[in-house]
Amino acid sequence: MASAHALSRTFTIKGRDFARAGSVSLEIKEILRDLGIDLVIARRTAIAAYEAEMNVVMYAETGQMELSLDPELIQITVVDVGPGIEDIELAMQEGYSTATDEIREMGFGAGMGLPNIKKNADLFELTSTFGEGTSYRIITYIDSTGQP
């Protein structure tokens, strides 16, 4: 993705920084708007990015989110340093959550994050090393017929 028609941006996400939570996915949304990405695709991507960002904020110490984009696809990768996920299959189930009461109080941690990413992505890969961290790869395809 190093060509002139490819764009790449890296953002740092700080764990527990709830005051700024959501700002990275908001910036991604702005970029997609500048590019005139189809509204539905842009919204799906922004939601997936937001959920991944919130996961880093809620559970990890720190994380890097990278947006890379070319005329065919939008790829978001997140690598975080944190507790990792013990049982990915379980974590992918709707309603399953390891969130603390404090996070639930804030209206998060309903166990919908990962399923929501899956729902909004064309391709979603999740890898994790328990005790070390989690990586996400989220891809949405830019269907040329979907261009506005």
Binding site: L7, R9, D34, L35, I47, D70, P71, Q147
Partner: protein, 454 residues
Amino acid sequence: MSQFFHSIRIDTDKCDGRMSCMRVCPTQAIRIRNGKAVIVEAKSIDCGECIKACPNGAIVPLTDPFGDLGRFKHTVAIPSPALYAQFGASILPDRILAGLKMLGFDDAVDLAIICGDTSLAIEQFLEEYNGPKPVIFNACPSVVKLIQVKYPQLVDNILPIKLPKRLAAREIRERKSEELGIEPQEIGIFYITPCPAKMIAIKQPTVGGCYLDGAISISDIYGPLLSVLESVDQSSYRESLESVCILGIGWAVAGEMHRTLKLNNVLDVFGISEIVKTFDDIERGKLHDVDLVVAYSCQQGCVGGSLTVENRYIAYNKILRLLETLEKENIEACRTKREIRERYRNKCFHLEQRYEPRPLQPLDEDLGKAIMKRKLKEEIYDLLPKIDCGICGAPTCMTFAEDVVTGEAQPSDCIFNVPSKLVELTRELATVLEGVGSSDRGREWTVSQGKLKK
């Protein structure tokens, strides 16, 4: 080319380019070009923040002049309920309506009663609704426009119910033309408006037709009205307080529209910056358990409109006290729920069309070129001082970078000694632009006043 009507104009004789308007604009829709403010029409949502901010009164709303009543055989004023909050606490709506008649209107009709009807219709609508949630209240035209421009994915959430002033005007025109035996077009119906945004709905209704002939700003009519209020004879208006509806008066202020409705979960939001945060959350799917979001672009609601006179907090307080008075005196002029249900079933309240999205133009229609331009925009931004001084004529360094990329500004407009790298980038930009089709400029700007610099 002006695709959309805007209700704000810049008086270039009065404007001295002080940038107050540019700095407060919540959608970065103002630039200073050749020392004068210009409005980027595609970005403006007509919220009127600039009107309030301008120290010279150089930003003028395109309301109708008061006194232009002669061209109609019969004239009717329908004031926004916000007008009721502009005078002392002892001056009640009935007296204000009577005062409007003394100013030369043949009739003055309370809009609150229709607002009350509409509130009941909204209750009915939400009861049966099963579309995307939350529903977003449509009475504030700036909010509707903000959605169309910046949150086009949310247009289907906008409440598809007709606005009270439109319902009222239609009803009045039909009734009066029959009563007086004159042609419908011989009746002039004027809305007394608290803000310029409501003008758009009259001059260029986004959805459906409009039945109003003009709008007069509260600030224009305030002085004349105040001077006649003293002399309004009490006997001449005694009956009209009976036609003021509690349910409807609440439309003038934030948080009271749904005062007596049976709605489960309503969120009230005021001020564009807070609305933006709320809409971001809605886009993320976070507020799907909320039934209705009542958003007003002005703080405290319509009483805070840029064409009002009274301090918005005092005006807000007056509306609350008026509501209490009406409640205590048990004045309830609204039609019965059953009557409204009947009309609702007959589709009296439903908008015939949906709201259309009007997203901002991308940096380029061609995605590959848009990507290149976006990268250039970021590279240019990196070279700028990032202090948002505004001297280049753009409100922020980021908007300036965008203006350079879209060809609306030159790198040399930045007074800081930008490194030669920027010039290099601009040359790169030129090759991008020349790459495919010479007329391809990414986006086209129209300005309401003055010319954009080449």
